[in-house]
Amino acid sequence: MKKVAYYKGCLASLSAKELDTATQALAPKVGLELIELESVTCCGAGDIHEAEPDYYLHINARILAYAAAEGVDTLMTVCNVCTLNLRQANWQLQIDAELRARVNENLVAVGVPPYERNVEVRHFLWEIAEGEGYELLQKAAHKGLKGLKVAPFYGCQILRPSKILGFEDPDRPWSLERIITACGGEPVDYPAKIKCCGFPIIQAREDVALAELIQPIEQAYEAGADCMVTPCPLCHLSLDAWQSKLKKQTGRDFKMPILHLAQLVGVAAGLADSELKFKRHVVSVKPVIEKLSV
C-alpha cells in the first residue's frame, strides 16, 4: 500500500460527496492508503489566486505543510483545479527559498507546521494511469465495462499549463483512454476532450460558458458515447448540472450521463451503489447501468 495524504477539495467534501465515497472505496483496490487531511481549506480555485494572490500562496502552503506533516511523499488530489493550484504553489515554494522562508514564518506564527519536507502533488488519475496503480487497476476492474463507449473529458487544468502539471502531452493526452480500455470500455475520440467546459465563468458569463460547454457534450454525443468521464468535479458539475440549461437555450436534450473517474473505475471494480451514489447526479446514469447489466 502506498500511503498518500488525501486532499478532497470543496466539491468532494460537499456537493460532490459521491466522488469522495467512490474514491475512498476504490483506493485500497488500487494500492492506495488515504490519509485524509482535516486542517485544510479550499485551495481557492483560480479565484483566490486572482483576488488575493498572496493569501492564495499561504493557504496552499498550509495544505502542503499539513500533507508533509503526515510523513508521506504524495499529496493526492481528485480535482483538476486543486491539482493546478497546489502544484503551482508547490513549485514556487520549492524553487524560491526566500519566498518559502517568508511563507513558513507566517505559517508558524499562526500555529501551522512549516512546510519543510517536500511533497509531490498528484491527481488520482496519474496514480492509476501508470506504474503499480495501473497494474492493480487492471486486476480490480474485473467486472469490466463490457464495451461501453466512454468519452474521456480531460478539461483544462489537468493538462495546461503543461510545465506546471507535466504528466502528459497536453495536446495528445492518453491517460483516461488507457484507463477506460483497462476497464473493458471503448474510448471515444473527439476534438473538444481537451477544451474547457466553461465552469469558471458559468455564473458571471453564462452565455459564453454555455457556448463552451456544448462542444464536448455535443461531440461526445455525436461520436456515439454512452457516457462521459472526467477527472474534475468542477467539469462534472457543469457537464452534469448545466445540461438542463443547454436544453433550455438550444432545445437539445443530450441526456448524457457524466461519471467521475473514480465512479467509472468503481463500476468496473464492482463498487456498491452506496459508494457510487449515482442518485446524486442530475442527469440519470440509469441507461449506463442498464447497458452493463444485460
Partner: protein, 348 residues
C-alpha cells in the same frame, strides 16, 4: 533529413480548400519556416505564409501545427521528422483566413488598440529631471513586455471562440504591461475599462494562451494580475470579481466553499431568485448543501489569522503573483518521451 508535411491550402477568393502533401529534403537544423521556404522555392510557388525576421522577434510566422499554434521559425523539425511524423500545418484559429497560412489580423490589432498600448504619464510638459524607475518596479511587467504580437495565444483561446468580442489574451497581457508600469498615470481608468463585459472576467482559464505563447508572456497569468490589481483598487462591480471575492471569504470563514452562497454573492439576490427553479433541481440531488449548520474545517482559526497577517504584510495586488514568477519561469515541461517509455514498458 527527409521531411513530410501536410498543409491546409485555402483561397478566400474562390473558397477552395485542400489538404496537400509535400515531401522533400531539408538540412537537419531546419525549422518549420525553413521547410515552408523549401516548399515554396522548389515545389509550389503559390504557397502563402508570413515571415520576416526568422528569429522569433517579428511575430509574423504564427501558424498551427497539428492544431496548436506555434512560431514556424522557432519550431525545429528534426525530432518530428526522425519520429516519422507527418504534421498537419494550417492557419491560426480564431481569425479569418486570407490565403493558406495567412490570417487577417485586423480584429487582433483592433483589440490591441482598444487597450491603448502606449504610456499615459498624466502630464504633457517634459519634467525638469529624468524620472528614474527601479529595476524592481519594472520587473512587475518584465514578462508582459516580451510580447511580439504573434497571435499564437489567441489561436486556441476558448473564450474568444465562444465570444468573438472578448478582448483576448494578447491585448489583456498588453494592458497589464501598462497597468503595471510605474510611469503610467492612468491605472484606475484602465482597470475600470478592462473590468467591463468583454474584459478580464470573460477569461475562462483554459490556459491555452499560456501553453502556446512562444515568448513566455503567460497571458493567463497577466490576466490574473489585472484581476488582482482591479480588486486592490476596489474595482469589483463585475460578477466575475464578486465571484472571486466570495472564495476569499469562504476560505477565511468556514474553510470550504459553500456553493449555495456563490450564486447570490455573484449574481445578486434578484438573479438568484430567478434561478430558483434551477437551484431546486440541483438541491434535489444534494448538489446544494444547506448553509446551516455551516461545515467548518478543523483549525480554521489558523486560516483566519493567516489572512490577517498576510493583509498586514501588504504584498497586495499583482505583487502576490509577481513574487512567484521567478520560480515559475524556471520550470519546463518534461518531455513526453519519459512517460511514453514508461507507458510502453507497462503495456508489455
Amino acid at each position: 533529413m527527409q521531411v513530410a508535411l501536410k498543409i491546409w491550402r485555402y483561397d478566400s477568393s474562390t473558397g477552395q480548400r485542400a489538404l496537400k502533401d509535400y515531401e522533400f529534403q531539408a538540412p537537419d537544423e531546419a525549422t518549420l519556416l525553413d521547410c515552408l521556404d523549401i516548399v515554396k522555392d522548389k515545389h509550389d510557388g503559390s504557397l502563402s505564409y508570413r515571415k520576416s525576421c526568422r528569429m522569433m522577434i517579428c511575430g509574423s510566422c504564427g501558424m498551427r501545427m497539428d492544431g496548436g499554434a506555434v512560431l514556424a521559425c522557432k519550431t525545429r523539425m528534426y525530432d518530428i521528422a526522425q519520429a516519422g511524423q507527418i504534421p498537419v500545418i494550417s492557419a491560426m484559429g480564431n481569425l479569418p483566413i486570407v490565403k493558406d497560412l495567412v490570417v487577417d489580423m485586423a480584429a487582433f490589432w483592433e483589440k490591441m488598440r482598444s487597450v491603448e498600448p502606449w504610456l499615459q504619464p498624466g502630464y504633457d510638459a517634459a519634467t525638469e529631471q529624468e524620472n528614474i524607475v527601479s529595476v524592481a518596479r519594472m520587473a512587475v511587467i518584465h514578462k508582459e513586455s516580451l510580447c511580439i504580437n504573434c497571435g499564437c495565444c489567441t489561436s486556441e483561446c476558448n473564450s474568444l471562440e465562444a465570444d468573438p468580442d472578448f478582448t483576448g489574451p494578447a491585448a489583456l497581457a498588453k494592458a497589464m504591461r501598462f497597468v503595471g508600469d510605474p510611469r503610467d498615470g492612468n491605472t484606475v481608468e484602465r482597470l475600470e475599462g478592462l473590468s467591463g463585459e468583454h474584459g478580464i472576467w470573460d477569461c475562462t482559464r483554459c490556459y491555452f494562451c499560456s501553453e502556446r505563447c512562444p515568448k513566455g508572456v503567460d497571458p493567463r497569468d497577466a490576466i490574473a494580475k489585472l484581476g488582482a490589481e482591479a480588486m486592490k483598487h476596489g474595482i469589483d462591480r463585475d460578477m466575475g470579481a464578486k465571484h472571486a471575492k466570495w472564495f476569499v471569504t469562504s476560505a477565511r470563514t468556514t474553510g470550504w466553499l459553500r456553493e449555495t452562497e456563490l450564486v447570490p454573492k455573484t449574481q445578486g439576490i434578484v438573479m438568484a431568485i430567478k434561478e430558483t427553479k434551477f437551484a431546486l433541481s440541483l438541491a434535489k440531488h444534494g448538489k446544494v448543501p444547506p448553509p446551516f449548520p455551516p461545515h467548518v474545517a478543523k483549525n480554521q482559526k489558523e486560516a483566519r489569522q493567516l489572512y490577517k497577517l498576510v493583509k498586514e504584510q501588504g504584498v497586495s495586488g499583482a505583487a502576490g503573483i509577481v513574487q512567484g514568477e521567478k520560480a515559475l519561469g524556471r520550470i519546463e515541461f518534461v518531455k513526453e518521451t519519459e512517460h511514453a517509455a514508461k507507458h510502453e514498458g507497462a503495456a508489455k
